[in-house]
């Protein structure tokens, strides 16, 4: 029997091993506790089954953690080189171009209106 602390009730409550200890990235394909819940039509109890049954997509966080923690001195905003660089260059181009355009527009706007 495993226990977990329920923040909601502020008490220890019984739990299966999967809920008592399930850190990010841990894949336990063998459930150590499978309660025998019998229904009229047998259903798969997702919370007790293997983590291979994922709801809405697989967990890619461990892979991303590996990519972003690579010690290659690249700053975080360019870590995924190709898409990051494209977006960065577009943004900087708009920044510099926009700033210049702004100064020109304000210069023109500041000219006295000759009637």
């Amino acid at each position: 029997m495993y226990y977990k602390f329920s923040r909601f009730t502020q008490r220890l409550t019984g739990a299966a091993s999967s809920t008592a200890h399930s850190p990010q990235g841990l894949r336990s394909n063998i459930p150590s506790e499978s309660p025998t819940i019998v229904f009229a039509t047998p259903t798969k109890v997702v919370s007790q089954s293997s983590h291979a049954v994922e709801y809405m997509g697989v967990n890619k966080v461990p892979d991303l953690q590996r990519i972003f923690q690579a010690s290659d001195e690249i700053p975080v905003h360019l870590k995924r080189v190709v898409p990051d660089r494209l977006l960065y260059r577009t943004t900087m181009a708009l920044t510099v171009g926009g700033a210049l355009y702004c100064l020109v527009a304000l210069y023109i706007a500041a000219q006295p209106k000759n009637k």
Binding site: Y55, V61, L64, L87, T95, G98, C102, A109
Partner: protein
């Protein structure tokens, strides 16, 4: 992280503060150019730059926290202080508009007919759509709390469903309010009643949209396994913001819709 002897986050050099500042410059100057020369180019450029900055800056924060592990407990504490202070500043922002409303409505001038609502204004019935809006936002406060507990309990499916429901309720509120705006028998130009009504509720609606967007980002992150049962500050920040939006609405409803009708 391996080479520092402290738990704080020394961020990588980033271009986003600069691009954000230039975006703000372009938006403000663009507004002036639009008013005087009828051209929206500069304003649009500024808006695009602002959106690009927000996307990349917050993307980088997610990378630093979720993927690089920089958000240690002291760092998270700082982020909590930051969000609290930001929400506090927003409270003061709305306080100004409530001050304006009460200034005009507690002592209505002779020009208004010496009464509130002013002569000629037919206010909205507070027990029709505005009451529904109140129920919608209160329900969304319940669903966002449900989502939080689901995340803390490690209930992935429930967290996704309750968070999605919260966003749907937020969008429902926005749709209802938009319809009310369209159908209202008075406009922003209808004296101080119109001004206080539409500016206060309008800024509130904008904050509902911002809050819904924040929650939507949290939903995407929850689906992508970013949140753990112990560490999910992005979601908590969104939930705080959402409760703030809810409370502002309650004040708006009681003051402007109910007492002011």
């Amino acid at each position: 992280m391996a080479h520092q002897a402290h738990a704080y986050h020394m961020v990588d050099p980033s271009p986003w503060p600069l691009t954000g500042a230039v975006g703000a410059l372009l938006m403000t100057s663009g507004l002036a150019i639009w008013f005087h020369f009828h051209s929206t180019t500069l304003l649009t450029l500024g808006l695009i730059l602002l959106l690009l900055t927000m996307y990349q800056w917050w993307r980088d924060i997610i990378r630093e926290g979720t993927f690089q592990g920089h958000h240690t407990p002291p760092v998270q504490k700082g982020l909590r202080y930051g969000m609290i202070l930001f929400i506090t500043s927003e409270v003061f922002f709305f306080l100004g508009f409530f001050w304006a409303f009460y200034h005009s409505s507690l002592a209505p001038t002779p020009e208004l007919g010496g009464c509130w609502p002013p002569t000629g204004i037919t206010p909205l019935d507070p027990f029709e759509v505005p009451l529904l809006n109140t129920a919608v936002l209160l329900a969304s406060g319940v669903t966002v709390t449900w989502a939080h507990h689901s995340i803390m309990e490690g209930e992935r499916k429930q967290a996704i469903q309750s968070l999605a429901l919260t966003i749907i309720l937020g969008l429902y509120f926005t749709a209802l309010q938009a319809m009310e705006y369209y159908e209202a028998p008075f406009t922003i130009a209808d004296g101080v009643y119109g001004s206080t009504f539409f500016v206060a509720t309008g800024f509130h609606g904008l904050h509902v949209i911002i809050g819904s967007s924040f929650l939507a980002v949290c939903l995407l992150r929850q689906i992508q396994y970013h949140f753990t049962s112990e560490h999910h500050f992005g979601f908590e920040a969104a939930a705080w913001y959402w409760h703030f939006v809810d409370v502002v609405w309650l004040f708006l409803y009681v003051s402007i819709y109910w007492w002011g009708s």
